[in-house]
Symmetry: C2
Subunit: 397 residues, 2 copies
């Protein structure tokens, strides 16, 4: 497999028909906010917006396994588009699962209902890891991802009327002639490595956290490999048309700052270097990158450093629901923020939720850019009409 | 049921034969450290030291359900004593489960292997809660707890030789004539309420966190009730001979500081007021109280305030493995600390673990008292000889 692209290497131009290059997404509220600007309406999307809260999702997923659905391009594109159609959110997030790159690299992983990703066995010895790192992600293996992203971007163009053959335009939130951007999605190297070491989901990721101390070399080798997998996965999405990326570290919050810095930050940085060299031709403008984890109040500055040290030209820190955005801004410094409506409030009466959303927007006003999102994923039992109403509220503020 | 004892009410004397009164535990390293002193050896015990890591525990638990074992006084006492015998730790922690007070109050709860506590159904409406609060903890219901604590304290006396009929003394860590103290154990009102609202363990406690916003009055009523249950449970343990208490909030870390302060701190304080009025006769010395939760880096000062506002005369904050003790001391101010060896390091080679334990002890040196513990419970697959070696190391420093 390819070695990580270092931030210092020569920039690589995005394709001429890329939405960030031909201007389709450059004026969108999302891209503007991620570039530290303040568009007329604050952009909003929801982590896990494509998923079980939508009846149209449950409909198309009938009889199709989770990983399988991620690898069927027409289905992954359809699922990615559903919440844009329904909620008029300001971004699509590529429908995938954190472990998809593992499957594409030939690891025997499945997603069991009610459990989560389960490996054929735990991978935790030096030998296990030596065998893993022989595998890589070929262009051929990534073809279903590339295909799904292309279909999604075409679908977003159509929704926005930007390139619709008929010129018909549905009233989404994109400025005239622009299109709703797609955000590429990848799991952070630590989260992927934790699944491999544990062999399945775990509460405290003890075996992974033991390995990083018991055998730091094997841990470093494993996480460099998962970083390159996720990096290649993100890069393929960007080259196929994604206008930003989000690196999602589900479990970073289980770590002390010292462990995060010594054993996790280097591989997260490595993953992001895979997209950090990409540039809008004739400019210094790269692809915006968002880094998010839960329970990360103590890690926010370290996560900011991961983005900047990787060479991401337009970094944004995602903030979970536990840390108010004004406090996050104080911790992170001048950088756009994404977040952080508490998903628990989606089930509260509207006046309670409305007051909370207004508070989130007000606290985000101090950041140079603000993308409204949840402070964690959409709970599966969420009433989707509530999400639509939140979008309308944010756009009205 | 009784209303909570307010800190301002007249003090109640501990019984004359209580270990804190007749001096059996007053000179122990644990009680001295919890009182802000620096005994010659730093005391050490482990959360979940009584449990699955010990073969002698697995032996006596054969064929006995978890809650059932907590309610069989001879068995609960034996299990509580096992780690003191084996590891020579400086404290026994009363073997129980967070949901035992619910069972004693007549709630239909069971602990399912591999799942955790499961209620007959979720309790989340105003009506559900109105019916719950009619139940209480009678002295009769608490009899198995009182009995188990008495047996445990007698067993600890015997182990230490303090009151052994034969005068025979095993070489534990208690100063001559003293006995190893027992710490009473109770789950915090939020954790109990979250189990009730969810009906089972959950990752984010969404339903509970929704209820506190959607219907704050019902939430307050529910948590006042769980506070009184846990408070009565702790008080019974102290009156029967426990020399300190630990209030354990498994899930406080899932909350923002604002939610913790508005919706959780009041009931945690209420729980602790049930033991805050108890006094060593003829003194202002109350029962030391430890408050611990995981993922609480952002909550440590608020948890300190819970202890002091409840009127605990000798408060100690327990710190999870994510926050170094010198940072915790800076956040909490002059108060003894308990913690915080990372349980993940118990599986690392001894030199790595030893360096970590030495670091924990060094970082705790700035606190007025330090009780060494883990930063979370003993993992079930821990090699018990490693725990014994940690005790020996801490005692040698």
């Amino acid at each position: 497999m390819t070695s990580p692209t270092l931030a210092a290497t020569a920039p690589v131009h995005l394709p001429a028909d890329h939405p960030l290059v031909d201007g389709r997404t450059s004026t969108s509220p999302l891209v503007r906010a991620l570039r530290g600007d303040r568009p007329a309406t604050t952009p909003v999307w929801f982590m896990r917006q494509a998923g079980r809260s939508l009846p149209e999702y449950r409909e198309v997923r009938q009889g199709v396994g989770m990983i399988e659905s991620c690898l069927m391009p027409h289905l992954a594109a359809e699922i990615t588009l559903q919440p844009v159609r329904r909620h008029r959110v300001d971004a699509a997030i590529f429908f995938s699962d954190i472990v998809v790159p593992l499957r594409l690299a030939g690891v025997d992983v499945d997603i069991k209902a009610g459990v989560g990703p389960v490996m054929d066995r735990p991978y935790r010895t030096a030998d296990d890891v030596a065998r893993l790192v022989e595998r890589g992600l070929t262009e051929e293996a990534l073809a279903p991802i590339t295909d799904a992203v292309r279909r999604t971007v075409a679908g977003l163009d159509e929704l926005s009327g930007a390139r619709a053959p008929s010129g018909a335009r549905e009233p989404d939130n994109s400025p005239e002639g622009s299109t709703t951007p797609l955000i590429g999605f990848g799991g952070a190297p630590f989260t992927l490595a934790a699944y491999l070491v544990e062999g399945r989901p775990s509460r405290d990721h003890l075996a992974a956290r033991t390995l990083m101390h018991a055998d730091p070399e094997t841990w470093a080798r494993l996480t460099a490999w998962t970083a390159d997998l996720t990096g290649a996965f993100l890069r393929a999405q960007v080259l196929a048309g994604a206008s930003a990326v989000q690196l999602f570290d589900s479990w970073a919050g289980s770590l002390s700052l010292a462990d995060y810095q010594a054993h996790v930050a280097p591989s997260s940085m490595r993953a992001l270097t895979h997209v950090a060299d990409l540039r809008v031709p004739g400019s210094d403008t790269g692809v915006p990158g968002i880094h998010f984890g839960t329970g990360t109040a103590h890690l926010l500055p370290a996560m900011r450093n991961v983005l900047t040290n990787a060479g991401i030209t337009h970094p944004t820190v995602g903030v979970d629901y536990r840390t108010p955005l004004d406090e996050a801004a104080a911790a992170v410094g001048r950088m756009p923020l994404q977040g952080n409506v508490d998903p628990a409030l989606l089930g509260a009466p509207w006046p309670v939720l409305e007051a909370h959303v207004r508070d989130v927007v007000a606290r985000g006003a101090g950041a140079p850019g603000h993308v409204v999102n949840l402070g964690h994923g959409v709970p599966p039992d969420t009433d989707p009409t509530v999400l639509t109403r939140v979008v309308e509220l944010v756009h009205s503020l």
